[in-house]
C-alpha cells in the first residue's frame, strides 16, 4: 500500500482476504491463532513483528495501525497490534505478540508504523514490555522517576514513589548543552496560554524558528484504563468516558464503550435508542467542534477575539439542548448498555422546536465565522500552507478524524464502519486536500453543518415514531459476565477521530483489560512533522488545529 500513489486509492485496490488467505500470506510467521471477536488474531514470535506488519501493510493493505494494546497474563506478556485499512476499516486483523514473562522483550513496530512510537512507549510505561529497536523507549505518561509499571500484575501500589529528578539522573548520560550552539531551548507549557490544557512542549528554537519540538504528556493521567478495569460492565464504567474528552464530546465517548461492550456481550440496541444516540452524539460533535473553532481563533487572533465568544455562544445553545436531553452539562452519563437511560424530555414538542430553532440559526452562525475568520486575509496568511501534514504522513502516524480528513484522507467510521443510525441517514464525509491548518479548520466547520443535517433527520424520525414502539433500552441482564477470554476492539468516530476500546473479559463482571485508543494521542504525535522548521506562531496554530484534549491524550 505504501508503494502505490495515495491520491488514487482506487487505482490498485488490494483485494480483501479471508483470514485463511492472510495466514497463508504470512506463512511461517504465524505460530498460532488467537482470534478476537472483531478480527482474526495471528500469534507471532516477538522477533518477527516488523516482518509481519510490513507484509500485512504492503501486501495485504493494512495501512492503519489503530492501537497497540499491551497486557500481562499469569504466564506471559502480550502486545496486540490492531490493524485496519484506511480504505475499509471493517477489514481488521490483530497481530498478537506474546513476550517472555521474565524478560518481556518484543521487536518494535516503529520502523513500519511511526505511530507505534508512542503506543509502545505507553506499553512500556504502564505494562513493562521492552521494545527492541525502538528509537526512544522512555516513559511517556508517568514521570521519568516512576518505579514499577502500574498495570503489570505484580505492581505494588504502596511502594513509595518519591524520587527526585536529580536522584534519578544517570551520571554518565551525555550532556546535551552545547556552549557553541546557536539554538535556544524553550519550555512551552505545562502552563502556557495556548497549550489547551497541561501540555508541555520542549522546543528548540533557532531564532524564531522551531528546530525541534517534543511533546511531554502525562500531566493529566488519571489511570482511566485501570479505573475501568475496576468497574462492572453494566453500570460502573459508563461515567468514565465522559471524562476522557471532556470538551462536551461525552456522548461520543460513551458510545465507544457502549459499542465495544454491547458487541462483546451480544446486546442488540433498539432502533429508537439508536436514533436518540445518533442525535445526541452529533450534538456533542457540534459542541466540540465549536470549541475547537473558538480556541483556534484564540490561538491565531490573540486573547480577546470576538470569534471566541461567538463560538462559545453557539456551543452554549447546543449545550442547552444536551442538558435538556441528558440532565447534565458536562458529564452526561446518558448511554446505557442496550440503549439510553431515558427518553426525550417532556414535552417532546418543546424539545423538537428548540432543536429546530438551533438548527435554523446554525447556517447563519457558520456564515458569520466564514466572514470573521476564514475569509479574512490575515487569517488565511497565517493558516494556509502552515502546519503541513501530508496524507501519507498522517496515515503513518495513525491520525484520524478532522486531522486526517484535512489532509485528504477520506476516513470516517460513521460511514466506513457503520454503527448507530448513520447508514440510514443522508450526510457527507467532509475532506479537504490542503493538508494545512486552514483545511483542518474548514473540515470542522463543514462537519458542523453535516452534523446539523443528521440531527435534523433524527428529529424528524423521532417526531413520527409511534408511541408504543419507543423502546429506549434492550433487556440487559443485571450482571454481565462475557465469556472468559473473549477479546474485542471496537471504535467509533468521536469528535477528534477514531476512539477505540479494547476489552478482554476474564469471566468476571469486570474487564480483564480495558484499553483506550485515544484519537488525540495519535494526532498529537504528528506535531513535530507539522512544526519543525516553522515559526513559533505556526507551532501554536498547528497545535490548535490538532484540537487535542489533554484529558483524552493522557487518560
Amino acid at each position: 500500500m505504501s508503494l502505490e500513489p495515495l491520491d488514487s486509492p482506487d487505482a490498485d485496490v488490494v483485494p480483501d482476504r479471508t483470514p485463511e488467505e492472510l495466514e497463508a500470506l504470512l506463512g511461517d510467521l504465524v505460530v498460532g491463532r488467537d482470534d478476537h471477536l472483531n478480527a482474526p488474531g495471528f500469534v507471532i514470535r516477538p522477533d518477527t513483528v516488523q516482518e509481519t506488519l510490513s507484509t500485512l501493510k504492503s501486501e495485504a493493505g493494512y495501512d492503519h495501525l489503530s492501537v497497540v494494546t499491551a497486557q500481562e497474563y499469569e504466564n506471559r506478556y502480550e502486545s496486540i497490534y490492531h490493524l485496519k485499512k484506511f480504505d475499509d476499516p471493517t477489514q481488521e486483523v490483530s497481530v498478537v505478540v506474546p513476550a517472555d514473562k521474565d524478560h518481556p522483550v518484543s521487536e518494535s513496530a516503529e520502523p513500519v508504523f511511526r505511530t507505534a512510537d508512542w503506543h509502545e512507549r505507553e506499553a512500556y510505561d504502564l505494562i513493562g514490555i521492552e521494545y527492541d529497536g525502538h528509537p526512544d523507549l522512555r516513559r511517556i505518561l508517568l514521570p521519568e522517576t516512576w518505579q514499577g509499571h502500574p498495570l503489570s500484575l505484580d505492581y505494588d501500589q504502596n511502594q513509595p514513589q518519591i524520587a527526585s529528578l536529580p536522584a534519578h539522573v544517570n551520571p554518565i548520560q551525555e550532556h546535551h548543552k552545547d556552549a557553541e550552539s546557536d539554538t535556544m531551548y524553550l519550555n512551552i507549557g505545562p502552563h502556557h496560554p495556548a497549550t489547551h490544557g497541561v501540555l508541555h512542549l520542549k522546543t528548540v528554537l533557532d531564532g524564531e524558528q522551531v528546530v525541534d519540538v517534543e511533546s511531554d504528556i502525562g500531566y493529566l493521567h488519571r489511570c482511566e484504563e485501570q479505573m475501568a478495569q475496576n468497574g462492572t460492565y453494566r453500570h460502573q464504567i459508563m461515567p468514565y468516558p465522559d471524562r476522557w474528552d471532556y470538551i462536551s464530546a461525552g456522548l461520543l465517548n460513551e458510545w465507544a464503550y457502549a459499542r465495544a461492550a454491547e458487541d462483546l456481550a451480544d446486546i442488540e440496541v433498539p432502533e429508537y435508542a439508536q436514533v436518540i444516540r445518533t442525535m445526541g452524539a452529533e450534538m456533542c460533535r457540534i459542541a466540540a467542534h465549536m470549541l475547537a473553532l473558538a480556541t483556534f481563533a484564540l490561538d491565531v487572533n490573540g486573547d480577546f477575539t470576538a470569534t471566541f465568544m461567538y463560538a462559545i455562544n453557539d456551543r452554549e445553545r447546543v449545550q442547552k439542548l444536551l442538558e435538556d436531553l441528558t440532565g447534565q452539562r458536562l458529564m452526561f452519563n446518558y448511554f446505557r448498555l442496550g440503549g439510553v437511560v431515558w427518553d426525550l424530555p417532556e414535552p417532546r414538542e418543546e424539545f423538537f422546536s428548540n432543536t429546530r430553532d438551533f438548527l435554523d440559526q446554525l447556517p447563519g452562525s457558520v456564515e458569520e465565522y466564514h466572514d470573521l475568520i476564514t475569509s479574512n486575509e490575515i487569517f488565511q496568511m497565517r493558516t494556509i500552507d502552515t502546519g503541513i501534514l501530508p496524507p501519507e504522513v498522517a496515515k503513518n502516524y495513525g491520525a484520524t478524524g478532522p486531522v486526517a480528513r484535512g489532509s485528504g484522507v477520506d476516513y470516517d467510521l460513521r460511514r466506513d464502519d457503520p454503527y448507530g443510525y448513520y447508514d440510514e441517514l443522508e450526510w457527507d464525509v467532509i475532506t479537504e486536500d490542503g493538508c494545512d491548518n486552514y483545511s483542518r479548520l474548514l473540515v470542522r466547520m463543514q462537519e458542523v453543518e453535516e452534523s446539523a443535517k443528521i440531527i435534523g433527520q433524527c428529529i424528524d424520525l423521532l417526531e413520527d415514531w409511534p408511541e408504543e414502539e419507543r423502546n429506549i433500552q434492550a433487556n440487559v441482564p443485571r450482571t454481565l459476565r462475557p465469556d472468559d477470554d473473549a477479546e474485542i476492539y471496537r471504535a467509533v468516530e468521536a469528535a477528534k477521530g477514531e476512539l477505540g476500546i479494547y476489552i478482554r473479559s476474564d469471566g468476571t463482571d469486570k474487564p480483564g483489560r480495558f484499553k483506550i485508543r485515544s484519537p488525540c494521542f495519535s494526532n498529537l504525535q504528528t506535531l513535530p512533522e507539522m512544526a519543525n522548521g516553522e515559526y513559533i506562531p505556526d507551532v501554536i496554530a498547528a497545535l490548535g488545529s490538532l484540537d487535542i484534549v489533554l484529558g483524552e491524550v493522557d487518560r
Binding site: 524553550l186 496560554p193 495556548a194 477575539t305 490575515i378 497565517r382 513559533i536 506562531p537
Partner: protein
Amino acid sequence: MSAAPAQLFPEFIAETLGLPGVAGEVVAALIAAFVVGNIVLAFTGVAGPWAKRKITAAFTDRVAVDRVGPFGLLIIPASAVQLLAKELIVPEGVDRPTWDLAPIVLPASALLGFAVIPMGHLGPVNLQLADPEVGLALVFAFASIASVSLVMAGYASNNKYSMLGGLRAVAQNLAYEIPLIVTAMSVVIFAGTLQMSGIVSAQQEVLFTVGGFDVPAWYALVNPFAFVLFLTANMAEIGRNPFDIPEAPTEIVAGYQTEYSSSYFVLFYLGEFVHIFLGGAILAVTFLGGAAGPGPESIGFVWFVVKIWAFFLFTQWCRSALPRVRIDQLIEIGWKGMLVLSFANLVLTAVLVGVIV
C-alpha cells in the same frame, strides 16, 4: 494663512497667576505639565480598567463591569487599588536596575510626547505646553524611546519569553518607524513646517464646499492614501492588533511583560495606553485637523478628545476582530510593502505640491 501664534498654556498660567521672571516661567511650566500629564493619565485611567472592558465586551457579546457605581465606573478606583495592592515579585537573576527602569521609561517617553501636542482650546486656555519649530520630529523621537524600554524589559527579565518579546519589539519598531516618519514627511511637505501648530493651522483651509458646508483641508481628506499608510504604521508602532507581536499572549505568554507584576505591571500598562493616546494625538494633529471641529474654537479640546478616543476605539475594534500576523510576515509587510509605499507617497506628494503650489 498664518494667524498670530496662540498663547501657550505655561504662558497663560504665568500670566494668570502673575508669576514673574525665569523662576515664574519654570513654575508655570511645571504646573502646566502637571495639568496636561494628569489629563492624559485620566484618559488612561478611564480607558484601562473601564472603557477597554466595556468596548471589548460590546464587540464580543458580553456584559462587562456593571456592578460598582453607575455604568460600573467605580471599577476604576477598585481596579487601581487591586493592581497596586498586589505583591511585586522580583524574579531571581533579573538585571537590576535595568529591570526597574524599563517600566518607568515607557510611560515617561509617551507622556513626554504630549509636551508638543496642540490639544486645542478649552475656554480661554490653549492646551499646548510647547510649540518648537521641530515639533513633529520631536514627538516621533519621544515616542520611539518606547522601544528602548521594551528591549530593556525583555533583556533584563532573565526570561526567554521576555527576550523573544524584546527582540520582536525591536524588529517591529525598526520596520515601522521608517514608513511612519516618511509618511509624516508628506504632511510636512504639504504644510511646509514641522511646527505642530503650523501643521494644524494649515489644515484649517477650505478644501471644497458641499451644500454650504465647508469641508476643511484635513490631510486625511487631501491624501487618504497617506492617511491609511500612517494609520497602519501607527498601529504597528504602538503594538496593537494585528501587530501586537511583542506581547502575543498565545505565543510568547506576555512577551517583555511576562515577569512584571504589581506596580511595575501597572506602569507598563499605563505606558501602553498613554502610547495609544499619543498615537491617536499624532494622527489627529497630522491628518485630522488637530483640535478643529464644528463650533467655536474654545471647545476645540472636546473635538481633540473625541478624535483620540475614536482612535482608541479603533484599536480596540481591531483587537476584537483581526488575527495577528506572524513576525516574519510583519517584517515583510514593513520592509517590502510599507516602506516602498511610503516613499512612493512621499515622491507623489512632492510632485503634486510642486505642481500645484
